[in-house]
């Protein structure tokens, strides 16, 4: 009997609707207004790669050991080095990073023994061309150009 009454007056539905109305306060809105408000990503976020430079003298930290290229599952890092006759060390000649194939797994970052290669918190990496996604050494060191939105 009680069940029938409950069904006739749709009490269960009201119970459910109460949950809906409880969340009508504007403080409960969790939508992000992305291009207007940029979301704050986690500290360890794995985004656009960066090749760190020594802030004192502007020289690259990369020692050209090729470990990142070996660790990469997609083989998308190419490191070019040259043996310096005087210092007997490897000098970095070029460094390319193909973002179009990158899956941001972070293995290159883990492999780097001197913390030169790093995945940063940048997440805007779109490009109009495929070539634009292959970052060279300059792009990796200076970072992508800042994006400006205009209407």
């Amino acid at each position: 009997m009680l069940e029938t009454l409950k069904r006739v007056f749709l009490l269960d539905l009201l119970d459910g609707l109460w949950v809906t109305f409880k969340t009508q306060r504007t403080s409960n809105i969790s939508t992000e207004q992305y291009p207007k408000d940029r979301p704050k990503v986690g500290e360890r976020y794995r985004g656009a790669p960066r090749l760190n430079i020594n802030p004192d003298n502007g020289e690259t930290l990369c020692i050209g050991c090729d470990l990142c290229a070996k660790a990469c599952p997609e083989n998308l890092i190419v490191v070019g080095t040259e043996r310096n006759k005087e210092t007997r060390r490897l000098d970095l000649t070029y460094f390319t990073y193909d973002l179009s194939r990158c899956m941001f797994c972070g293995l290159c970052e883990d492999a780097c023994p001197v913390d030169a290669l790093e995945l940063t918190q940048d997440f805007e990496m779109a490009s109009y061309t495929r070539e634009g996604l292959i970052w060279d050494r300059q792009m990796l060191e200076e970072g992508p150009r800042p994006t400006r939105y205009t209407r």
Binding site: V19, R44, R46, C72, M103, L119
Partner: protein
């Protein structure tokens, strides 16, 4: 004058673009009016050859790819793969790493069940649930992002332990989530469990008895909804699950409605495990001694874990080289999907949507 209706059978393609097939599953339905006479699954639209990729990568390099099979529960995939390779090389993760792994796997179970609940409720017309479940899932994903830097394809674990130490706010975040989520679960139940439309749509739909479940090798919540008490976390504990006090929910309805209730209850049990694990994270190393270049001795290993969707197994054959000789994945969704024909024949077209929903498939895992 003859005046009779055409009553021939009709072939209907459902998918691969149909939203209720949860991805790119194509069903060829043979219909007699609204009744399903036969159903044929056409899969392979998302095939990327993950197993073959595994044969061409080193053991460490393949780890990110397993996240991309069942991308909704990437952590569980990673856990299974790491356990399999660890068994192959004879290493074991330190106790701290094991407990943290359990924590993340259970958080991932909640995230996976939440996405399932939201989307399958949406399929059946209950749109509200989706917004709530996505909101709570976001909290879990934020914990993942703060821990390892990615939300979905996490690559959280490494062979031999963990790469990252827990972040400072982890405990507070997880406790806050657990506290909040207990109340939210009751809200979901208020929305759905006794909702007459929800009950009508699910009760008695897609019955798969215990015997049929076993003959189809169905695992996970579907099996437990049919009354079989089988959960690999209890049956063959891995990664320290034997230390935790939790129950395996078992129901006997064997229909879609019980599968829904099982998953709700599993989320409650996951919260229990999370609460216990937070209390007893030991200090110590997070990475076992694992050689930088993995070259396992020739041999083979099969390790299976209880992923949110069922038994997830990894079978790896090593020939002593840097790459696996063969890598085979036993995905829960693929095996569970095979039982669709048994359940859907004789049902209405609208019920097929409910049945697919409660199998809980991810096409990335079915097609690999």
């Amino acid at each position: 004058m003859t005046n009779h209706l055409e009553t021939s059978e009709m072939l209907l393609n459902m998918g691969p673009q149909h939203p209720s097939t949860h991805g790119v599953l194509r069903l060829v339905l043979k219909l007699d009016g609204e009744r399903v006479k036969a159903v044929e699954c056409v899969i392979g639209y998302l095939h990327r050859g993950v197993e073959k990729i595994g044969e061409n990568r080193t053991y460490m390099q393949f780890a990110p790819y397993v996240d991309r099979m069942d991308y909704i529960s990437a952590v569980s995939n990673g856990l299974g793969y790491c356990l399999a390779v660890e068994q192959l090389i004879g290493a074991e993760a330190p106790p701290r790493a094991q407990i943290v792994r359990v924590l993340f796997a259970e958080l991932n179970r909640i995230a996976s069940h939440l996405l399932w609940l939201g989307t399958s409720a949406l399929d059946l017309g209950a749109m509200t649930a989706l917004f709530y479940t996505m909101r709570e899932r976001e909290e879990v994903l934020k914990i993942f992002e703060n821990y390892c830097g990615a939300r979905l394809t996490t690559h959280a674990f490494r062979i031999g332990g963990l790469q990252y130490e827990l972040h400072d706010t982890f405990e507070a975040e997880t406790r806050a989530f657990s506290e909040m989520f207990k109340k939210r679960l009751d809200e979901y139940e208020k929305l759905l469990t006794k909702n007459p439309i929800w009950v009508e749509r699910l009760k008695g739909v897609g019955i798969l008895t215990a015997e049929e479940c076993k003959s189809y090798a169905v695992s996970g919540p579907m099996l437990r909804a049919a009354g079989v008490n089988w959960d690999l976390r209890k049956a063959q504990p891995y990664s320290g699950y034997e230390q935790f006090d939790f129950e395996i929910p078992v129901l006997h309805g064997a229909d879609s409605y019980d599968r829904y209730r099982i998953r709700i209850e599993e989320m409650r049990q996951s919260l229990r495990i999370i609460d216990q694990a937070l209390e007893r994270i030991p200090s110590g190393a997070i990475m076992a001694k694992v050689p930088k270049v993995l070259k396992p001795a020739p041999g083979e290993v099969y390790v299976s874990i209880e992923a949110p969707k069922g038994e997830l197994g990894y079978y790896i054959v090593s020939d002593g080289s840097l790459h696996p000789y063969r890598l085979r994945v036993r995905p829960p969704s693929f095996v569970n999907l095979a039982s669709l024909e048994k359940m859907a024949v004789g049902a209405l077209v609208a019920d097929v949507v409910a049945i697919i929903g409660t199998i809980d498939i991810v096409l990335g895992e079915v097609d690999r």
